[in-house]
């Protein structure tokens, strides 16, 4: 009997406590810097090394390169770069292996669309997705903040 009353007391006390929910669609949710959202792609930096496509566990990245238009320079530049967000699991491995930080994560996470086709994002879309880009991309290195201070 008293257990029941104690429980009632706890729920009543919680009634006066501040609410913990967010007004999500009305107020955007602020994600921490390391958050893995939709990738941003910078064609300028890409050296077409194909590492991101190779590391991708779901094979959702496809890219093609072409010869550098300036005949004096060596190497390739990126031609097409597509990510299929139907199967992308946002695992962060592509940004981890990218040697030039051409592909990096952003904090944007709203991917819902009305059609599956729209989940297929191309190089232009990924380039324009340049808001809330992750600042700190050098992982696996000790940070001063990790210390006990």
């Amino acid at each position: 009997m008293f257990g029941l009353l104690k429980g009632l007391g706890i729920t009543l006390k919680n009634m006066a406590k501040p609410k913990v929910t967010y007004k999500y669609p009305h107020e955007p949710l602020k994600m921490p810097d390391r958050f893995r959202g939709i990738q941003h792609f910078d064609p300028e930096k890409c050296i077409v090394c194909n590492q991101c496509a190779r590391i991708c566990p779901t094979d959702c990245i496809s890219l093609t390169g072409k010869k550098h238009p300036d005949p004096g320079k060596k190497g390739k530049i990126i031609d097409t770069y597509d990510i299929n967000f139907e199967i992308c699991i946002l695992c962060d491995l592509c940004t981890e292996v990218c040697p030039t930080e051409a592909i990096i994560m952003t904090n944007n996470f709203e991917l819902a669309t009305y059609s599956r086709d729209q989940l297929f994002k191309n190089i232009d879309w990924l380039h324009e997705n340049d808001q809330n880009i992750r600042q700190d991309n050098v992982s696996m290195k000790p940070k001063p903040g990790g210390s006990k201070a």
């Binding site: 029941l4 429980g7 009632l8 706890i10 729920t11 919680n14 009634m15 609410k19």
Partner: protein
Amino acid sequence: MDIWVILGPVIMLFLVLGFVTYAILFERKVIGWIQNRVGPTQVGPWGLLQTVADVLKLLIKEDIIPRKADVGLFKLAPVLAFIPAFAVIAVIPFTESIKFADIAVGLLYYMSISSITIIGVLLGGWASNNKYSLLGGMRSAAQMVSYEIPLVLSVVGVIMSAGSLNLTEIVHAQQTGAWFIFPQFLGFIVFLIASIAELNRTPFDLPEAESELVAGYHTEYTGFRFAFFMLTEYTYIFGMASLITILYLGGWDAPFGLTFIPPLIWFILKFSLFVFFLFWLRATMPRIRGDQLMEFAWKGLLPLAIFNIFLTAILKEVSFLSHYF
């Protein structure tokens, strides 16, 4: 013929509908607050139109009847459940003057008419031809029949004290003595528990235990038929809250001589207290198990209710206490 004979029930129906609408909103809000949430806020200012939108949605939904259902009974069941729920309100006096029928056996009328609803629930569960519905219907029948007995027996104490089955006279008896919650405390506890069980609310919400039976007896119902079952449930909350106010909390009687507040307001205040208690309980309690429920009714509440009758009879003869009994 008096115009109020026609108009009164119509107004009452709309009052009940209004109550149901805002009771559901209030329930969601209270449970939200208890769970550190805000509850509905989107439809209308402060979410005030949320239930209205929900009801509208239910009304325009497709009316689905399962192919193997017993169509006649399937359609009849929600109606059979709702009519008694509304009919019981006829005998409830809200104040000295606001009441519909002042019949001599008012209390018993409430108990008997409300038992018809069980048939509706049972038939709804059976006619759906769904196993979960059937189980829900059986549970509710077993539960409501079992709890009706302690419910009726617990008010015998009140009837003995008031010397009447008429609800107005029961309130009058409390105005001269004390509210029956004090002298009839044991009866009040039994009545409170049994009434929650009759209302199928947590912790006795087995017939519609969603974690076990999906939705219980109304699993197969959609649209306005489902709305009828919901309406029945909340109309009974209205009825039961009124009844408990009248039987144990002195009806419209003002405590401490605070008569400058009108009697209707007092009634509503006491009424709301019970409604809030129901919602609060729902947010706190786990669900009791079927066999424990039965055991509790027959081995716990029934003896208590009978003991309460004896106690009332004995105390009625004690000279300095008889004023209260």
